[in-house]
């Protein structure tokens, strides 16, 4: 079964691009557009018995930020590895990423960078949800 990734970004074009790039190398990707939708989707998948192997999220999104959504997911006890994408990597974001044990990627990001980060995250933390 292909590893399941949940991808959150408010730009539909970027989502589609990244999802396609990841699917072509063998992952299954579920797309959402907001922090709130991310939380809902992760819970829904867990409830359906799906194993979410990785969560990739943009930091700045309208409404709830990706960091807050990730914090809420962790607080609910879901330990899936995290990758944050950010255009503005300030100290605050770095600190939160470290706290949550997330990998931080800077925008603009190249597909190669993304794919190797995904691999690293999934391989290095093969743990259950």
């Amino acid at each position: 079964m292909q590893p399941l990734i949940v991808l959150a970004d408010d730009s539909a074009e970027l989502r589609t691009l990244l999802a396609g790039a990841l699917e072509r190398v063998g992952y299954r990707v579920v797309q959402v557009g907001t922090g709130a939708a991310l939380i809902d989707e992760v819970h829904r998948l867990a409830a359906e018995g799906e194993h979410v192997r990785l969560i990739i999220t943009d930091v700045r999104m309208p409404g709830m930020s990706g960091v807050d959504a990730a914090t809420a997911i962790r607080a609910a006890g879901l330990a899936a590895p995290l990758i944050f994408m950010t255009a503005f990597g300030d100290a605050w974001t770095r600190a939160r990423a470290e706290q949550l044990g997330a990998i931080l990627l800077d925008k603009p990001l190249g597909l190669g960078v993304l794919r190797s980060a995904v691999q690293r995250a999934i391989v290095e933390s093969p743990g259950q949800l």
């Binding site: 970027l14 691009l17 790039a21 994408m85 603009p108 597909l111």
Partner: protein, 481 residues
């Protein structure tokens, strides 16, 4: 010197009245005394003479001879005593049978009638007459002297009081008045203008102290105002810096995603991951993102290099009309009805000259109108209202009360009937890059630019929003016609 004049006049009058009353009473007494003296003298002399006459009548039995000797006696008396005049009235001619001494004033003279007896019978009356003319002379002299004395006293007293008053009171008070006037003209000095050791000196010292204290307080206030102005300046400066920081963050964020998309598609094409139609689709996506980035850069540049306040003016009504004309098609397509409200008759609204560059106002109104039309996705009404009113600028915290006075303004309202802006979002809408729209659907710079343009021209903007719509109110200084 009005004080001294009043005081001198009062003193002179009261002094004059008092002295006059005293003199009047005194003259009365004087006359009484003089007449009493006359009465006494005449009695004394009269009695002496009466004795002599009585003796004559006692010694000389013959009435004719007695009468002759009496007249001789009286003649001698007249010669000796110069002031009175003695006369003898024989018994037969004596008026009435009155046997008592009588004294009275008769026609300007004091007259004594002394009956003389020899034995039991009255032989005649001794009449003494003294003119009161001398008395009147004395009285007149006394009155004249008193009058002159009174006049001299009053005049001297008045002059002395006037001089002393001017010296002790008038001049010091005039100096105090001048000091007070100088305080009113903000020429503050702590020196006392009167140094005497009396109440006026004390007043001068207090006035000087108060003046000095006022000068200090004013200096302190000026210093504080300067400090506050400097602080506000600092604040504005650092706000501008944080705006630059926000700009940088915004640029990074806004361009990050489109660049990622461009990079991704380009990498896929270059790596052969997409070919044929997929490659063409990727290329189109790159083109789209490039255009989007161009728009973002242009908006950022507009925001960053806003032209300084132009100082020109325009007719807000005319600009509003033009704006709605330009957006007419867009509004129609969105089902939005547009209307302009202004003072004056509908076909010839009165002009409202606002202190703002024409193009700048156009940009502002267009921005707000487009937002409004986009907010009314199911149709609605867009209304631009132009009025003139006096309004007070909202002052920044800590700014010295410079905004307290209402100034004549041109007010432009841009109102829509859309769903409104949520209360938690409302305080942030003018922040650069604040947006509730998903990425790519606007940079969130529009309202920040609007806010900046209005502020650059010395105006301000406010917003009210509820479930039945949003109204942006722009206040611009009114240009005098």
């Amino acid at each position: 010197m009005k004080l001294v004049a009043k005081y001198t006049l009062a003193l002179g009058l009261s002094l004059g009245v008092a002295l006059f009353a005293i003199a009047y009473v005194r003259v009365g007494y004087l006359r009484g005394n003089l007449v009493a003296d006359m009465r006494r003298d005449q009695l004394v002399i009269g009695n002496v003479l009466r004795e002599g006459v009585a003796n004559v009548w006692r010694d000389v039995p013959d009435p004719e001879r007695a009468t002759r000797e009496t007249r001789e006696l009286i003649e001698r008396a007249n010669g000796v005593v110069g002031t009175s005049y003695f006369a003898w009235e024989a018994a037969a001619t004596a008026a009435g049978a009155d046997a008592a001494d009588a004294q009275a004033i008769e026609g300007g003279a004091f007259v004594s009638r002394l009956p003389v007896r020899a034995g039991a019978a009255r032989v005649g009356t001794l009449v003494i007459r003294e003119s009161l003319g001398d008395v009147e002379d004395v009285i007149r002299t006394d009155v004249a002297t008193s009058g002159i004395a009174i006049a001299l006293i009053v005049v001297f007293g008045a002059v002395a009081s006037a001089v002393l008053g001017a010296w002790l009171v008038g001049r010091p008070v005039a100096r105090l008045v001048e000091h007070a006037r100088r305080i009113g003209r903000r020429e503050l000095s702590a020196t006392a203008v009167v140094r005497t050791r009396d109440e006026l000196g004390a007043l001068a010292a207090e006035l000087g102290a108060a003046s000095g204290a006022l000068a200090e307080a004013l200096a302190r206030r000026d210093a504080e105002t300067e400090a506050r102005l400097a602080a506000v300046d600092q604040l504005r400066h650092s706000e501008r810096l944080s705006t630059v920081g926000k700009l940088a963050a915004g640029i990074a964020h806004e361009l990050g995603t489109p660049l990622s998309i461009v990079a991704g598609h380009a990498q896929m094409i270059a790596g052969g991951e997409v070919v044929g139609d997929d490659a063409i689709a990727s290329a189109r996506a790159i083109d789209l993102e490039a255009t989007r980035m161009g728009k973002i850069v242009r908006q950022l540049l507009d925001f960053a290099r806003r032209k300084g306040p132009e100082g020109t003016s325009c007719d807000a009504v005319e600009v509003a009309r033009r704006c709605l004309r330009l957006l007419g098609v867009m509004a129609e397509r969105g089902g939005v009805r547009c209307a302009i409200e202004a003072d004056g008759p509908a076909d010839e609204p009165a002009a409202a000259r606002a202190h703002i560059d024409e193009d700048a106002l156009q940009q502002v109104l267009t921005n707000l109108a487009v937002n409004a039309i986009q907010a009314m996705s199911g149709g609605g009404a867009l209304r631009i209202r132009v009025t003139r009113e006096a309004a007070t600028a909202p002052s920044a915290p800590g700014a010295p009360g410079a905004a307290a006075v209402p100034v004549p303004c041109v007010r432009v309202d841009v109102a829509d009937t859309g769903p409104g802006i949520p209360a938690d979002v409302l305080p942030h809408i003018f922040e650069p890059f604040f947006t509730t729209k998903p990425t790519g659907d606007g940079t969130g710079l529009g309202l920040a630019v609007v806010h900046g343009i209005v502020g650059d021209h010395g105006g301000w903007i406010g917003v009210e929003s509820g479930a039945d719509g949003t109204t942006f109110s722009i206040y611009l200084r009114e240009e005098p016609p």
